[in-house]
């Protein structure tokens, strides 16, 4: 847990052990797969107008069923489902491709075997958002609803998610160091 991002000319750098790189790559890939799987402009969907698809509009009106996706693509209006549906229609696909691009940037710059990772400032920005998406996804899977709660209290001793509490906290530490390096 000792290694964290530090500022270097033009960006930031951090050393990753192979195991750490493996965890980050795995989580980033899982979130990217989930995000990519829910695209609302699938060519095979009969209900999607060709022009709409070309304009990058989503066919989605309702929030996603999957709670992780619902957190990553929240409603744009708190109490107006119609306005939210329109907002979703116009913004969801571009948000989706933005998140996928950030995830890809991490995969492109973090070798599976780890090592010294040196990022340009734009790559730092992409890492920041990709790591945040992973933390949001983990928080849903871990059932985190209160920032003060004891994270381990939710989980039984043999719950396989328990390992992810450590990862969730480590990613917060990593994200904090990246923000510090960018400041």
């Amino acid at each position: 847990m000792a290694e964290s991002f530090h500022a270097v000319p033009g960006g930031a750098a951090c050393y990753f052990e192979a195991a750490q790189a493996g965890v980050v790559r795995s989580l980033i890939s899982q979130v990217a797969e989930l995000v990519g799987s829910d695209a609302g402009t699938a060519a095979g969907t009969e209900t999607v107008d060709d022009l709409e698809a070309q304009l990058g509009l989503s066919s989605h009106a309702d929030p996603p069923d999957d709670p992780v996706l619902a957190r990553l693509f929240p409603d744009g209006y708190a109490d107006d489902p119609e306005a939210s549906a329109e907002f979703r229609r116009y913004t969801e696909e571009s948000l989706r491709s933005g998140k996928l691009a950030c995830a890809q940037a991490v995969l492109d710059t973090l070798p599976p075997t780890g090592g010294e990772v040196r990022l340009s400032e734009p790559e730092c920005q992409q890492w920041l958002r990709a790591l945040n998406d992973v933390r949001l996804a983990l928080s849903v899977r871990l059932g985190i609803s209160d920032e003060d709660e004891d994270l381990t209290a939710n989980l039984a001793l043999d719950d396989p998610r328990a390992a992810y509490v450590w990862v969730y906290q480590w990613l917060a530490y990593l994200q904090d160091s990246l923000i510090e390096a960018l400041s």
Binding site: Y77, F87, G98, N132, I144, E149, Q175, D176, I179
Partner: protein, 96 residues
């Protein structure tokens, strides 16, 4: 609630009325996003200096939500979309 006025570029057609303007973007508190991260996002998205961004973040944190920008509905939707891109939960509301 300390919210800095945001300059919104308006086309000068003279047709706008006050009704076009009073839309706001609200950011809601959540248990995941780091305080440092929220502060950083406010600096980056709105160009607020760090103390102002920090105060806004604390408003969100302590009050449950805070208005982060105001202007036309279109501008507020752009802000909300940008903030969603950073993983914050933002909603657009008519400030009445």
């Amino acid at each position: 609630m300390g919210v800095a006025p945001v300059e919104v570029e308006q086309p000068q057609t003279g047709e706008e009325t006050a009704l076009d303007e009073p839309w706001v973007t609200i950011v809601w508190n959540d248990p995941v996003n780091l305080m440092t991260y929220v502060t950083y996002v406010f600096q980056r998205v709105f160009g607020y200096p760090k103390p102002k961004a920090e105060k806004l973040m604390l408003d969100v944190h302590h009050k449950g939500k805070a208005v982060v920008s105001s202007g036309t509905r279109e501008a507020m939707e752009r802000d909300a979309e940008t903030l969603h891109g950073y993983g914050l939960w933002a909603t657009v509301s008519h400030d009445s």
